[in-house]
């Protein structure tokens, strides 16, 4: 056994971090100027394997610092501290259309990080690495409570930060795929916001009656938060992606009952029939389904369903009437919704109405539809089960991995600042920052 090899050390700090925390990967004691491959492997809950790798050359002391050194090849290149996570891709031979989404947020995501000699692009399983460590990525900080909510007819999960509160509250909505998706709400609670993930498409009510929920379902959710002893009823925000945006914009402008402190809308649109609510939005999509396009690989492109942006005010939310701060996050390569065009239209409406000081617009070139918490792998395409037809389709979301990943990181950081500023405003904070982000 070559003794020097047993001396190579690999460390990742922190080895147990939150999913949105950065880590530092350090290789030490290798031969100076040696070719090394750093390799990440993760097996997700559904059994699929993902991997990422990058090629480095160690420095004169035999060290590599992923946060400072340049990858010259692999699943990412350049100086990318978190590249081994966001560039994770399904291992060769995997089914097409996979998307990584954590179901059980109470257990961490475990990633094995190893360092190999020379620049490898395959056959990692056949070679013995020089060193390897395990890293845990958590969605819940210690002390965060996960509380399933079924009262008042709701299908939801509430995540409460540690401590007596009261905490500002947040309703977290996902998009047209339905299901109860908890990981973003869990992460927000880890940052001090009492967050409730709400299933509004495949909730118990809809599954039992076959009917789409009305606005009162969201009012129930809002009131549940408002009267919760640990939630500050006067400071409730809403955060939504995709179809969730449609719901939030309608509520933010028109609801008499739900008074939002602020709203964050990701990859969505204000275009919807003003008569009616969710069912009518879904019907509107169906009506326009003729605008669906297909790529040469038969991937579904839905971005034209709402285009062109109507001028008719009965077909879009009048954001000129908005009275709370709004953050819009859009990817300019969104192939699923016309989020960018909608955002431009909304900006124009608000400028003309004189309330554009309420708008924060984050627009990312080459980012796609699924702008999620940072460092998670980007899915340009994935298998999507359409809610109404129950069909499984290969849907094109868009985005180029590098720019999309940068967008996720930037958007998340700004989203947290936006939420904190609006949910904690009126409290002196000085220049102290609340977290390591």
């Amino acid at each position: 056994m070559d003794e020097k090899h047993s001396c190579v050390t690999l460390s990742v700090q922190p080895s147990r971090g939150l999913v949105d925390e950065k880590f530092v990967i350090l290789v030490q004691n290798s031969f100076p100027s040696s070719l090394l491959t750093i390799y990440a492997h993760h097996q997700c809950e559904d059994g699929n394997s993902w991997h990422a790798f990058a090629h480095y050359t160690s420095d004169a002391t035999g060290a590599v610092n992923v946060s400072e050194d340049c990858s010259i090849g692999g699943t990412y290149s350049g100086v990318e501290a978190m590249g081994l996570l966001w560039s994770l891709q399904p291992v060769p031979g995997s089914k097409p259309g996979l998307r990584m989404r954590k179901k059980n947020v109470q257990a961490p995501m475990v990633v094995t990080i190893s360092v190999y000699s020379s620049h490898l692009t395959e056959g990692f399983g056949d070679q013995v690495p020089l060193a390897g460590v395990e890293v845990e990525r958590w969605y819940m900080a210690p002390g965060v409570q996960r509380i399933p909510v079924t009262e008042d007819g709701l299908t939801a999960t509430l995540f409460l930060p540690s401590g007596p509160g009261p905490f500002p509250g947040l309703l977290d909505l996902w998009g047209g795929g339905g299901q109860l998706v908890e990981y973003r709400a869990a992460l927000l609670a880890s940052h001090g916001i009492a967050s409730m993930a709400l299933d509004y498409l495949t909730c118990k009510y809809t599954m039992e009656t076959g009917k789409i929920v009305e606005q009162d379902y969201f009012e129930m959710a809002y009131k549940f938060l408002q009267k919760h002893p640990k939630v500050l009823g006067s400071r409730i925000a809403m955060l939504g992606l995709s179809l969730g945006t449609s719901v939030i914009l309608k509520i933010a402008v028109h609801s008499q009952i739900m008074k939002l402190r602020c709203a964050v809308c990701v990859s969505g649109s204000h275009v919807q029939p003003m008569d009616g609510f969710l069912k009518e939005i879904l019907d509107y999509f169906s009506k326009n389904s003729g605008n669906t396009h297909f790529t040469k690989d038969n991937e579904v492109v839905w971005r034209d369903l709402l285009l062109p942006i109507p001028t008719d005010l009965s077909l879009k939310v009048d954001v000129g009437k908005l009275q709370c701060p709004l953050m819009l996050v859009v990817g300019e390569d969104d192939q699923n919704w016309c989020a960018y065009e909608s955002a431009m239209d909304m900006k124009g409406m608000m400028e003309r109405a004189g309330n554009s000081h309420l708008l924060t617009l984050l627009s990312y070139p080459n980012a796609g539809h699924l702008i999620e918490p940072p460092y998670m792998p980007h899915a340009r395409v994935s298998l999507f089960r359409e809610i109404q037809s129950r069909q499984k389709l290969m849907v094109l979301w868009g985005g180029q991995t590098l720019e999309h990943s940068r967008a996720q990181e930037d958007a998340w950081r700004k989203l947290l600042v936006f939420l904190r500023k609006n949910l904690y405003s009126g409290v002196k904070s000085g220049s102290s920052s609340l977290s390591n982000l």
Binding site: E134, P142, G430, N436
Partner: protein, 467 residues
């Protein structure tokens, strides 16, 4: 009632603080004024509660945590109350008093505690100054039994300066911190083969790794927590039971294993496929330190380095010898001393003057580096005297270069991994009668010693086992 523990450097910093800050009187008056005019209105319907943060919230026990408070009224007095349950269910807690600055924040890495369980700027004070909560069992010592789960420490922010849980002020904010004894990916393997009883910890990765044999003292049983930490640093580590364990042979209160047992343990490591066979060391505390010195001098194995903490070079307790005779621990009772409260002090039993010359280990036969760590307030072992003896014998043999001696004023017997509460006394035995023993050590000084010693031990292992 609370006990305040002050380290020498903390006193210096505190007095410097008082001298340097002309507004000291002013903010004390302000805090007093707040108390006079009635409490600050904390609970509000219109603004969120103050926030307490910690980073990292999940860390190994030997890693520092940075705790901060935000969104507080300016200059207001607050208390941090940390509490956790041991594996046995006992409640441990600490209190510390801080004053928010002119921006309504405080930080434990920057600000001094002005009262409570510790004083001065002590980033990890809340952890090492913990004491058993009032009303709990007596004679407790905090030792992690289950190393695969973390300690969960709940830290509350309370208004004003309080030191007990009675008349508990309302909790303003809280943060929960996990303290882990094991890094992700470390494998834990129970060993019960060929008579050997212990637990093996293997770091993640392909290896091979340097290794450490880990030995504790006459408290007996099987203590895994130092091994799991060493494995988390990349060393295969073997916690070995040799006394007071149900799977070991023979009558209780005797050591029923001999030199061949310890040799076999060392060889298990050396021969392990994931261990670099010429990079195996031994670490031992108390009687474990005696064994650390005995194994290389009596069994012929060749460790790469040794770390001995507060242990004797010779003793009256014996291992199972070739005739099958052992002496039990109580046989050295003639040297036991008792203080006014009936606590037993074992120290004299290991004074070189009280030990038959034949019982001394021939430390001059050592051929590998030895780090010997002394707690100068050790009341359980005569560490200073034994260290002197080792130093003298090695010097006579021309082997002074092998010895690294660390000596800590105010530190007691139980120099363990850092940032955990230390026990000046704890329950030694309940049968035939209840006996509490004195370990020695003053909390702040002992905590500083543990922090420094652990760092030096890790550097020492790095130097001797890895480079």
């Amino acid at each position: 009632m609370f006990r305040t523990h002050v380290s020498v450097k903390a006193i210096g910093r505190l007095s410097g603080f008082i001298q340097m800050d002309p507004d000291f009187t002013a903010w004390r008056k302000l805090a007093g004024l707040q108390r006079l005019t009635g409490k600050v209105r904390w609970k509000s319907n219109t603004r969120p509660a103050p926030v307490l943060t910690a980073a990292p919230v999940r860390a190994l026990v030997d890693e520092q945590v940075s705790i901060r408070g935000h969104f507080l009224p300016l200059h207001c007095p607050v208390t941090l109350h940390a509490r956790m349950h041991s594996d046995e269910g006992d409640l441990w807690e600490s209190f510390a008093h801080y004053n928010a600055d002119e921006r309504g924040t405080f930080s434990l890495t920057r600000d001094p505690s002005v009262g409570g369980s510790y004083l001065g700027c002590e980033p990890m004070g809340l952890f090492w100054s913990m004491q058993p909560a009032p009303g709990g069992r007596e004679g407790l010592r905090l030792r992690k039994k289950s190393v695969e789960s973390p300690y969960t420490v709940h830290v509350s922010l309370l208004e004003g300066h309080v030191s007990t849980s009675e008349g508990q002020r309302s909790e303003l904010a809280a943060v929960t911190i996990e303290r882990w004894y094991i890094a992700p990916g470390v494998k834990r393997i129970e060993i019960n083969q060929n008579g050997l009883v212990g637990t093996l910890f293997i770091p993640p990765g392909p290896g091979p790794f340097p290794a450490m044999l880990d030995l504790w003292g006459m408290g007996g049983g099987l203590q895994e927590y130092r091994s799991s930490l060493l494995a988390s640093k990349g060393y295969v580590s073997f916690s070995l039971a040799y006394f007071g364990h149900k799977d070991l042979p023979g009558p209780p209160n005797c050591i029923n294993v001999g030199d061949s047992y310890f040799k076999a343990a060392f060889l298990l490591l050396q021969d392990h496929p994931q261990v670099v066979s010429d990079r195996v060391g031994i670490i031992g505390l108390s009687f474990g330190c005696y064994l650390t010195l005995r194994i290389p001098t009596k069994t012929g194995v060749k460790p790469s380095c040794l770390v001995g903490i507060n242990g004797p070079v010779g003793c009256t307790v014996s291992l199972l010898n070739s005739d099958g005779r052992t002496k039990n621990f109580d046989s050295s009772q003639e040297f036991w001393n008792f203080d006014d409260e009936g606590c037993v002090i074992f120290k004299d039993a290991s004074l070189p003057a009280n030990i038959p010359p034949d019982n001394f280990l021939k430390v001059e036969k050592l051929d590998c580096p030895l780090m010997y760590i002394v707690g100068e307030d050790d009341l359980s072992t005569a560490s200073i005297e034994n260290a002197d003896l080792i130093e003298e014998r090695l010097r006579s043999a021309g082997k002074s270069h092998l010895l690294t001696r660390l000596s800590y004023p105010g530190a007691g017997h139980l120099i363990e991994p850092p940032y955990s509460p230390s026990a000046r006394t704890s329950m030694w035995s309940v049968k035939p009668k209840k006996l509490i023993t004195m370990w020695g050590g003053h909390p702040a000084l002992h905590a500083a010693a543990q922090e420094d010693a652990w760092k030096k031990i890790l550097d020492y292992l790095e130097k001797n086992l890895r480079s």
